[in-house]
Assembly symmetry: D2
Homo-oligomer: 346 residues x 4
């Protein structure tokens, strides 16, 4: 931590800070310049994170030297994190997230019926994708919109998982549903609106279950890493980060997909980075180019929504791909991945 | 709902939409213009809110005519909502939120100790303010920061409420804590990060207890009203709306306090509108001018943070007012309120 | 400037930076901490502003200690800048901007006709306001919209100025029109879209004529101060700063009026700060509350638009006040100003 | 245009609008619904673009049916615009922008010296790229930063163009420099800060010279298309659109590169779309992944900055690629382009 003093600060002000630092167990380095005196605090500054040092007399500004995340930081595990999902059934596929394969998670936005879910699970499995995505609990802006099938949806998801032999990812919104969701899901999903639901993050941190945290609409990458840190600091180190668009002034897309988050998060952290171009754009015709772009940017995986009849979807139909568009996209993604020495399908 | 067809749309496309509308119980009005055919859907369009009408063949765009909120909308209660808090003790003050008095909610960010809380409660009471604010459960970006005193904090808050005879507002973060918090609080607070925690909103909707919902950092005013609608649609109509700053590119302030939200929300809704200039700016020296500005803009209330020693505060010390600054502000706020025919203190 | 080295940086990397600093005429202070080595550069760091120090080997990040603006910074003139406009006619009013009086600039968005301009000039003068605002050159998003009356408009403005005896402010968009505009205007206006038209700023810097620079829609306060610095570094120190709303995700208002800019800019700079609630909100019914709020926040002045028949205005009619609304507002502004020990009208 | 009346609107209000529409030469279609009366205006609504229809009595809101741009709209030229640059010298390469080849524009941010420019021009030419980019006039936030070599830079650029035989693109900031810049440049560049410098756009519209308009930091895609419309409405139809990042709350990147702009602009318009990942990210290590992503998203071209010694660059060194990194990127871009049936190099 670097403390810059005001031009008008006194020797007493500087002395006060040096003593405060000593009381926190930190050493100091005082540098008296032409225009400003600067005090460097030496030691693990995270112990004073959040302290209002700018309120001390004579202080002009406070500059952080270290990143506020530690467990999620790249330097702790430079080789990167790989998350393994054991086969659903004996002889089935082991999925490795964060390795050379680019992971695809695909399926309907919401679970709408048993038949539809089983059909799409089959399609997703056959396409070479790695996980089935499907929501039982749906966060909706309006209380009058379809809120998901809830526990009945979870039951159907468990059935599809078994019947088809495919790993599943689904969202948990309520800490009271956590055990029920964790009993079915291979990967838990924390939605963008819950990225800073710290209660939920701490509870997930106590499980042995991978979790994908979606970046909130107004959250910085640093805050996304701090949310991962919440889970990790409780003991659960299997965290996936997901970029799904941030909110900006642009209205031609539902959100602004921030693809630079892929290389930035991969530089800052050892955790795998997934991109959701469906929510990131909100329009089916933008999903395919943005999925290709995500893979080209180096994403470790992609999450997309599919629906057999988008115009009749109970949620987010505008961003759902028709099965045939999805299958064509899968081939393109594989070809792009191979430019980077990776692959999507076998 | 207005459906604009593409230039290339066929008569069959139009017919298809007319029939779909009929199936939803809506009438239609088809207008064939020079450049576009337009179909108006007549009836309560809210029943098709969220349907992906833009996925129907031939559709170029879909324009909503009605607002998606109904219970929160101004036209349902043009006289405005007044929320009464019965006296804490016999002979005490009845607080009316949404009436001619501009409400002040003041106190420490976090409950830090019994002594500090009681002292500030006394100060707030004497200053003429209406509610004591103080957090027992604190949402913090970092897992390493102080997370609040929790249930022990709630107990202290109940004690201060009784001892001093002042109404209290405090945040509930976890649906599992709801009963415990509601047992102490006169007004529940839903924080900005939980504005779209729909699980929590629904549970609060089932209580008979006023709730103040803070606008999320990336949430539109329409979404804030939809979150109020979640609570109201469950039966609880005592909702306060709180503007506390949105996230923008500007870094000289913690958030960008969107004061125009005051007149906009008052025009759109019948619910009282409170402003929090402490979180809205993040710096104590900006709190006073912004509090005055909020009252001048017509806010129904103000929430501010106070601390006897800001540099030692366990959370958000940079934005806390010293008691003497707070007391001076109270007088200014009262004078500004009187320009609008309102008042703060008696 | 503070340079933070990577954990992996070598002694040679540090040495390289120390030598580079010496070559730029700066001294250094090297502090070797537990986790990072930090090098402070001592001297006027502005001489290396914009240098890509983060590209030097071993550098993790670079932290600025001094603000990049110097002439506009508060510390250079702590008593504040007052800009005097000599009377238009003998015996007329001397207007002082930045003093105890809160300045009002009012008038039509565009000059539309001689009669309308003269009528409004009379109204503005009688109301006690200080400057007539009216645009001859209009920056419009669409090439098909009314682009202003141009030189003919300037001529009418000069006539109104003389006839009514009121100071005028008007926008200059094109450096080629600068002399013509400066011949009429008492204060030049640089519009939000031209805030970083550095060519125009430099040319204005060579004149002896006050200029009001409007903050761009995506510009930080620091950048606004840097634009003032452009003008001042050429010799013209009579600069007014104007907050007129920034662009955010909110759509219920045209822009998000960032009123906290008033106290922030007044703390950072000695230049007067004006607020334009007409462009800042885009709707006439929000202009009055936001004008009151601006004065309560401590603004040195207000700029508002008036039109006798807003529905027929050739530009920005939705945000124009009717004369009677404007006159009522003037009385309220004066009463709010007096709470702060200032006044609007005599 | 659709006009939605308030619930409280009278028959007289509706009649007034119908008559106003007739006066503008538009027909009307009045639809009386359960909750609202709606009036559709039939005809070319662009003639009333910008009129404050919401100020008419009884009007609740106004919804646009047609896009405000016409010449730039896709439907006018569904086959897309191809811009041909005749060979610099006899026997040289004809460059076609908007065709199957993905165009690469590369070079230094600023022209710094004759030698450096010639060396980089050779490198760019050999790499298979199509245009040399290099700035003579530089828009800088600070008046104390290097402002470009100006006319001497233009002279060097003309020399490099001739000597190496490569097309050039360079920025024009000031309308007074337009002829001089147009005499050298094969493609003019309008920078992000000048996207709404309507004076400059109109002047360029009168030339026969391709122009690339960069999207402003706070500008919507619709506004970018309106700026293209300014140029086109004056007669110059050779316009390239450039996405180069918008301003958001994220600070880990210089700007947020909005790659979804590529498919959106290609759907809305017939003009070629270029992406600048150097300014779009601000860090050299993000440029390569984002350049690949842009090509994967379907961009018609890429603009990138190169510097032999980034740490010594006079502007934007942090985002400059070393020559060897650039050459490696070119190969990757070509491979990604081929997945889409396009190519970069021969």
């Amino acid at each position: 931590m670097i403390i810059v003093l005001k031009k008008s600060a006194t020797e007493k002000d500087a002395q006060h800070i040096v003593e405060a630092a000593r009381a926190w167990g930190l050493k100091t380095n005082v540098s008296r310049g032409v225009e400003r005196t600067i005090i460097g605090l030496i030691g693990d500054e995270r112990i004073i994170h959040g302290k209002p040092l700018d309120m001390l007399p004579g202080v002009e500004s406070v500059l952080a030297v270290l990143k506020p995340y530690k467990l999620a930081a790249a330097e702790g595990r430079p080789e990167g994190t790989r998350i393994k999902l054991a086969p659903v059934k004996k002889g089935g596929r082991t999925v490795v997230i964060g390795g050379p394969e680019v992971i695809v998670m695909a399926g309907p936005c919401s679970i709408e019926s048993r038949e539809m879910l089983l059909d799409l699970a089959q399609l997703v499995k056959k396409s070479g994708a790695h996980l089935l995505r499907a929501g039982a609990f749906k966060p909706r802006t309006s209380p009058y919109s379809f809120q998901g099938m809830g526990n009945e949806g979870l039951r159907l998801l468990a059935e599809a998982r078994e019947a088809v032999g495919i790993h599943v990812i689904t969202e948990v919104m309520d800490v009271r549903d956590l055990d029920a969701v964790a009993a079915v899901a291979d990967v838990l999903q924390v939605g963008a609106r819950n990225m800073q639901n710290f209660t939920l993050l701490k509870a997930i941190g106590k499980l042995h279950k991978p979790v994908m945290i979606k970046r909130g609409l107004a959250n910085t990458m640093e805050e996304l890493l701090m949310s991962a840190e919440y889970v990790m600091s409780e003991g659960n180190h299997e965290v996936l980060l997901c970029e799904r668009g941030i909110r900006t002034f642009e209205t031609m897309t539902r959100n602004t997909l921030d693809l630079a988050a892929v290389p930035v998060l991969q530089r800052e952290s050892h955790l795998p980075v997934i991109v959701d171009p469906s929510h990131g754009t909100g329009h089916w015709d933008l999903v395919v180019p943005m999925a290709r772009a995500a893979v080209a940017a180096g994403a470790d995986g992609i999450m997309v929504e599919i629906h057999p009849k988008p115009a009749e979807a109970m949620s987010d139909g505008s961003q759902a791909l028709l099965p045939k568009t999805y299958l064509k996209m899968m081939k393109e993604l594989d070809r792009v991945a191979r430019v980077l020495g990776r692959k999507v399908t076998r």
